[in-house]
Structure formats: C-alpha cells, structure tokens
Symmetry: C2
Subunit: 241 residues, 2 copies
C-alpha cells in the first residue's frame, strides 16, 4: 500500500470507493503548494470514520476529487474529558486548543469568568487550530471548540454526573491527587491569569460535583496549567494507562 | 509590609540593607515603563538568596539603586531534574524553556541529535526566557540553560547515577510508567520532530541508565511531550507530591 505523507481533514463521509470533493483551499494546498498530481496518495480523516487512504483522481486549480481506497486506522476517540478555560492572550489561547487536541480532550469550552479579559473569541479560528493539530499529531478525532459562555451559566446547566476538576492556583498545602479519583466523565477547569473571583471561588467550592486540585508548589501560567492537568488526568484516568 | 507588584531578577547578592545597582535596561523598565519613584517596593530574587523586598533608593534615566529590607521567601530550588531536548522552531523552543522553568526543572540542556534542524541556539536569549518565566511565575530559582551539545557527547560523559527518562515516540504497546520509578536525580530526554535516528535508538536502548517512557497513544509534538513528561515526573517523583 502506498504511504501517504499528507494528512487532511475533510468534512465528508469516508468509505471504500467514496469520492471526496475538495474545496478551493484544499486543492490549492495539495496541488499548488504540495505539488501532488493524479494518483498521489493522501490520508483523510473526518473525525468520525477513522483514517482512509485516498488517491488524487482529479487535480484542478479551483478544486479536485480524491477517491478513498482502504481504511488505514479506525476512529480512535479520546476519553470523555472536556477542557474549560478562560481565554487569555491570542497565542496562548491557540496553544491551549492545540495542546488539548494533542493530549486527547473530547470537547473544548472557552468560559468567561469575572477576571477574563477577552469578551469574545474567534470560534472558527480556534476550531481550525484543533483541526490542524489533529492533522499534525496523527489523530483521527477533532474536539469540538464551543462558543464562549459565561462560567455562571455553564455551572447552572451542568450535568452533575460529570465531575469538574477545578485547578485552583490559590490552593495551598496538601492537595488531592488524581491517583485515587473515580473513573467517569470529567471536565478540567482552568482559571484566567488573574485567578477566580471570590464569588466564583465560593460557588465552585460549594458544588458537589467540583473537586479542587493543585498543580504543584509553583504558580503556573494558565496554558501550562491546562497541559499539566490534561496530562495528569490522562495518566491516571484516561487512555495513557 | 508593602506589597511589591513587580518582581525582578538581579545578578547581585541580596541581604538585609544590601544596595543593588540597576542596569540601564532595568532602570528603564522600572522608572520609565512602570513609572516607579523613590520608595516604591520591588521584589528581588537572584536564584540563590530567596526573594527580598527592596525599595527604590535612587531612580535615574541610566541607572538606579534599590535597597533590600527583608526576605519575603526563602530560596525554593526545584528537585534535581534536568530537561534535555532537541531545539525545534524558535517559538516552540522558547516555549519549552519557559515551561521547564515554570514546572521546576533545575537545568535545561539543548542537545543536537541526528535529526535536529537547528545547528545553533541563542543561549543568552533562552537564558533570558528562563529568567522572565521565573519572574512571572513567582519562582526564586532560575534553571541554567546550557549551550547546545551533541547528544553523543553528552551520553559519553554521562554520570550514570542520574537516570535518563527517554521519551520515545516510537514506543508502542504497554509502557513503563513513573509511578513505580525510584527516587533520585533524573534527566528527561525529548527527541526532535523527526524522532531519533536508528543509531541513536540503538545506543539509548543499550545504556543501563536510560529508561524509555511512553506518553500516551497519540503522537505529541516535542514541546507538548516536554511539558507532559515534566508534569508526570513532578507528580510522581518531584515536589508536587
């Protein structure tokens, strides 16, 4: 079987013999930038049907068609872990989405907190970052990036069967670890650079489905905390076991 | 006691009553950018003497003097953990140094491997990144960033009492975890984007002080792998316990 060097996410069903039309941007990337011609192999995934080997059937300037031959990998969805974080500076927010995709978060939810600076995010751009991270890291799944939602409203509508791991930078002294935490659906909650407000801390502290966790004796930036918490969850409760 | 909002690294001894002269850059930052005047509090650390509260005694355009009053925190050195990594793209290399400082690495060693793209690094710039990260994260210690060294030479001169945790992206199947690893000095080794060469893999695999570790079922970028490995080590063997 030919080995594809390029992995592409397409929003199209994938199956044996399936034709996949390319967008103008995808055609430009494959044929103008990467200079592929008819017959060239490309690996495709759509986040649902695993990874497929496809061949270029038609290559044009404004479009093209790939045809799927065989599935090369099944869909490998991540464990049921969400990441909630307060958006920070653009580059660091992009980074969090990239790392959450690589580390295997199933859903990414930007939340607005009392001390969140940004009032809005570019959801489409963050989703594109998740797609690119999945293309790069060999993933077959792309986490959904939700729109920005106020933390208060998220907590009010919370399904209490999903535990929240609240990464609280103000947590001092001996702390809970994940090594004896119960299996199940989880969400990690990372605060903004300025920390949570007193009101938020009081509310989170009183919710039965919220578990505060500490991430070591040094104060971590929000993006570092996100990566560290995702890592520890995957190692203790996820698919790194 | 006045609370200092600005933390500054200075390469100068710190003790009660000690005068600390400022460089031109530091004076510009404190007096022109942050607009501090005489009597303003500044937190100082030098990586050796903990954190000290100091006051502005003289503020000038080209320099100035701070005077230390009291130690506000003792030196809190990180555990004896080194990070060795093959330099990658500039922004991601900067990122690794920042994160290693936050997560508590004692020493950072860029290594040149068979598939390392960059032939040289800006050691002074990376060291400045480590200083900035320590200033930001409230650390009292700054890890030394060593010059770029060939991996072969590093391994030839290795003190075998320090174990190397070799993060090998090609490691498949069940893998060793850190939960039952022995205490002691360690170094984490992260490969370049292209992975280690066959020769490097053979050599590393045959060294008694090298332990291969895997970081989950997804392929991680080098910078993600560095943060994940540092996190797991700190949680299992370091000062996050």
């Amino acid at each position: 079987m030919m080995q594809a060097k390029i992995r592409l996410f397409v929003d199209h069903p994938l199956s044996a013999g399936q034709s996949v039309p390319l967008s103008r941007d995808q055609a430009h990337y494959l044929f103008a930038v990467m200079r592929l011609g008819a017959g060239a192999p490309v690996a495709l995934f759509n986040g649902r049907d695993g990874e497929w080997l496809a061949e270029v059937a038609e290559a044009g300037k404004r479009g093209g068609v790939l045809v799927c031959s065989a599935q090369t990998r099944p869909l490998q969805p991540p464990p049921d872990l969400w990441l909630m974080f307060a958006p920070i500076k653009k580059a660091r927010t992009d980074f969090i989405v990239e790392k959450a995709t690589e580390l295997g978060a199933a859903r990414i939810i930007p939340v607005q907190t009392a001390h969140t600076n940004s009032e809005r995010i570019r959801q489409d751009r963050l989703q594109a970052h998740a797609v690119e991270a999945a293309e790069q890291c060999g993933g077959t799944f792309v986490p959904e990036v939700a729109g920005l939602q106020p933390l208060d409203r998220v907590l009010s509508g919370w399904d209490s069967t999903r535990r929240i791991l609240w990464c609280d930078e103000a947590l001092a002294g001996p702390h809970q670890t994940l090594s004896d935490a119960a299996q199940g659906p989880y969400a990690i909650l990372i605060g903004p650079e300025g920390g949570f407000s007193e009101g938020e801390r009081a509310r989170l502290g009183g919710l039965p489905f919220v578990t505060p966790v500490a991430l070591g004796p040094r104060i971590l930036r929000a993006d570092t905390a996100a990566v560290a918490a995702l890592t520890l969850w995957q190692a203790h409760l996820g698919d790194w076991l």
